[in-house]
Amino acid sequence: MSTTQKSDHMKYLADMEIIDSDIMNAVLSQTADYDYTAYQKSDVLNALKKDVIDFYDYRALLSPAAEELLEDIAKRARQETRKRFGNSVSMFTPLYISNYCVNQCLYCGFNCKNKITRGKLSYDETESELKAIAETGLKEILLLTGESKKLSDVKYIGEAVRLAAKYFSTVGIEIYPLNSGEYAYLHSCGADFVSVYQETYDTDAYELYHPGGPKRVYPYRFNAQERAVIGGMRGVSFGALLGLHDFRKDAYAAGLHAYYLQQKYPHAEISFSVPRLRAYKNNAENNPRDVREKQLLQVLFAYRIFMPSASITISTRERAGFRDNVIGLAANKISAGVRVGVGGHESEKKGDEQFEIADGRSVAEVHEAILNKGLQPVYTDYL
């Protein structure tokens, strides 16, 4: 018999809000039914002929059979991207304000058992970081933390949001999942967009990768976007950490998750990110396994064609050459001048990085790259 009893990862902890939603069940049951080996090239070609694709077509686009038709899929994806976004490519940067964490995610540099330098920005430090970033011309910022209700509580994050709203027209947060009332509070401080990634949608794999900490509770994380929308947030972001588990199923599930949320809340602005596993301090071997650039591109295209109106962000987890080519093709948003340690824009970083980035270009350099693609850098798209 095991001496330590692991908590049930499908069971909410006390204080975790339970909302009335059937989205998770719908996503899980449909994902369980998805057999991507069952699709042929003809299914993909049929999908591409349609004006609006359905779930069946979306499955085909994510299947191995579709890999051989990537060029045809690219043409359609590009068309959809241009229809919705024209030449515009939005720019933003993340700011990590704290890397304290109580979770034990096996793939993450912030894992509380990973020996790294921990730290958080004081309000003064936060403000000087924000000022330094604002001087690059950016108008959109994404504030990030690890999960620690003790060291980076909602109040602390709220103050950081307030400061950010002084310098930026758009403030997003990528923090641990909250209850709808807490989202409403952060919204009142000036945040409008929330990113939460499910990492893997497979409940068994999720359990294995999250051996401890509140993040272990799968359904609470799953319903975070919906609670954020209930809390008044304007937009929410979806994604799976590609390379962690079965990327085709995970990407399928992330798309469905977003789709159902959009159906239930037509006003919500939907975004996708496509993070792939990266190396981090003390784990140089961490890599996205079977998700090579080709597969990543396939996922990007599938999201774009399945939900043409969604925003798609390409992060610095990918190399410059890849990023420069996917903007205007599938992605419409790109980060620049990125640091993924705590602070580090204005003064020395106060904590180590979450992962190693692959594109360290400045805002000015990314700006130039966007122009070189014949596209238009957009700094502000919200007021």
């Binding site: 241009r82 229809k83 024209g86 515009s88 006003h267 939900m307 238009q376 850098p377 502000t380 798209d381």
Partner: protein, 253 residues
Amino acid sequence: MDLLNIGGKSFSSRFILGSGKFSLEITKAVIEQGGAQIATLALRRANAGGKENILDYIPKGITLLPNTSGARNALEAVRIARLARELGCGDFVKIEVINDSKYLFPDNAETIKATEILAKEGFVVMPYMFPDLIDARRLRDAGAASIMPLGAPIGSNKGLLTRDFIKILIDEIALPIIVDAGIGKPSQACEAMELGAAAVMANTAIATAKDARLMAAAFKSAIEAGRTAYLAGFGRVLEQSAEASSPLTGFLE
């Protein structure tokens, strides 16, 4: 001279350029090639004093039509319109209230509310709407200076999917009816003008063309041709079914 009159201003061009999807550096050239005298401006994109500010790229002498894109209800639209005025963008405002992120359809009810508030404040209100006659009447009564019905979903390039409903607005509402979204080709713009639309707005179709300048010129010609045809008046053959060769009522004594 055939002029488009809105809000006390007269325009010889009936081509309104939407600017949201352009590369800014070609905006000026596109306006010139298209002969546009009115250009929309998404206030949320205006980055006053910052980088890539669209206001820096629109030539002098062009009437700015700031839009309220990003507004999800009447109050947000009102707030954005007031901001536009404070920024010196003039009194023209295109009301866009969109509460649907997938199709970007306008919310007519909220649009009517915003129109009423802003018209009272002296704005020249040009509401973007789904072409519904009853709502168009409400907009007119609320003080709209023109009505901007969509031809098809924004960015879809599908043309005049709502053709017959737009025609009803043209027939029934004594305000300039300006076809706003969905126009993908010059021929579709021409068709809208032939119907009697007062002007056509286009953005995506031009911004995403291989040569945006040339496409702007094509739109200019098409809009002029459509307008001229409308003024010339179509022959009855096109308007009604063919005429019978002998009188249908000849049996009357």
